[in-house]
Symmetry: C2
Subunit: 272 residues, 2 copies
């Protein structure tokens, strides 16, 4: 099959040791052409300075992480989330990011009302859609693994994300992370529905066993996900963009980031 | 809404402190009318003795845990799994169990071939179906939470289980555990397809946060699952059976089983 698209570094992958300046320099030093910052490191540098330095380094911004987190028990909390998403849209626009990755949010604390939380996500997306369109920022809805449903994302499957895209229309797409979707028996069917709507492709691996529900993602090739198979499905759905590596991993956070980037480059070539 | 169906104790709930004899006596002592043994405690007592003691105690056997675990790298491993499932069918028949709960198995160690593992599950089920029918034992396909896909079950959703039931026909059904299906955006739609095919209903809760992928299930009412809502869906699909409590939990395993059974009885009345 074809070689994978160009590599992009999601800054969370080295978050314990590198700020955004280190990440930009690291990408340049290792010949990694894409970067996807999280908003905390972006805020630490300042958006305008970050946009300039990323541009000067010749990097493509494959996404901004992250918008979303809409559900809240109180209306004031939901309004605050929408305001924060508006700021995220402005930041994504300033960076020229390919998309704003949407981690939609879990149940409000103490709630058992899953249909209600999903409705809050819908409402939140509708509330920011016009602003995203005006800014030319694609809202990339990211289905998250069902094990995150309670506290991170009630948006759990690609099919559910595409249903929302169908409803929202222009200005929306999906962020496809192999970690979140690899298990899905409907994946092939839903990928054929995703045609032209994959805004980002994220890679890492599922370790066997996995010892933490959030911070035990594996390096590509170390786990059981057939990444090339899922990439082929994405390419059949028209995706021609970057392979963004997003590792939330206590193990890799403890390592020298230059070593991590070297390994990521190698695995990008052999395991993606 | 209607009160929940009668209570059944899955023996794994107290596995660290009670064998099968303790469980039978405990159910009788606490007025719990159903029991669902795992095969390890069954083997320790002996199937014939267990069948007699359970019958003498007046308990209903709501299921036998578990058959399945079909995928294996080698044909000899797959054949051994099928043989073991034949023994499980005979045990379920000897107990008069309402069903044999099928935990279908994950990827063979080291494999990334998810479609292949699913095919092994299909093949395994086809191989034992005639024997199950002849024994009058319903194979209750249990979709397991997607976080178990790599090492426990490539059967991940109710929809996928029902597709298999459609294919296999008479002698099959589904075991519905709220822990495994609560997050599923397709749950309502698929439950309407499940009409007359729910062979077991299992209850526990999803804790926030969850700290282990296998052994951190919560007591009903301690987590975020709207159990009555899912029970209502099951009843709308014709289910009139027991509510079986299956807690895999390091926390509850450490407690006095009599206290655990008292709490289960209370939560069965208030949180199911």
């Amino acid at each position: 099959m074809s070689p994978p698209g160009p590599l992009s570094l999601n800054t969370v992958t080295v978050k314990e040791r590198w700020g955004l300046a280190d990440c930009i320099e690291g990408c340049a030093r290792h010949g990694i052409p894409g970067i996807s910052p999280w908003r905390d490191v972006l805020a630490a540098m300042g958006v305008e300075a970050a946009a300039r330095r990323i541009r000067d380094a010749g990097l493509t911004v494959t996404g901004l992480c992250r918008g979303g987190m809409f559900p809240a028990a109180e209306a004031t909390g939901r309004a605050a989330a929408i305001e924060d998403n508006r700021r995220a849209i402005a930041e994504a626009q300033a960076l020229g990011a390919a998309c704003l990755v949407m981690v939609c949010g879990g149940l409000p604390p103490g709630s058992k009302d899953l249909p209600g939380a999903r409705e809050m996500v819908r409402d939140g997306l509708h509330a920011i859609l016009a602003e995203a369109r005006a800014a030319g920022v694609t809202l990339a809805l990211e289905p998250l693994h069902p094990m995150t449903c309670a506290d991170r994302s009630v948006l759990s499957t690609l099919g559910q994300a595409l249903d929302l895209c169908d409803e929202l229309g222009a200005g929306t797409g999906v962020a496809l992370d192999v970690y979140h979707v690899w298990w899905d028996p409907a994946l092939e069917r839903e990928m054929s529905r995703a045609k032209g709507r994959i805004a980002a492709f994220h890679a890492c691996d599922w370790l066997v066993p996995t010892t933490d529900l959030v911070f035990d993602r594996g390096m590509m090739g170390d786990g059981c996900i057939d990444i090339p198979r899922i990439r082929a499905l994405a390419e059949a759905a028209g995706y021609r963009g970057f392979v963004e590596v997003e590792l939330l991993s206590r193990r890799w956070w403890a390592e020298d980031p230059d070593e991590v980037l070297r390994l990521i480059k190698a695995r990008h070539a052999t395991a993606c």
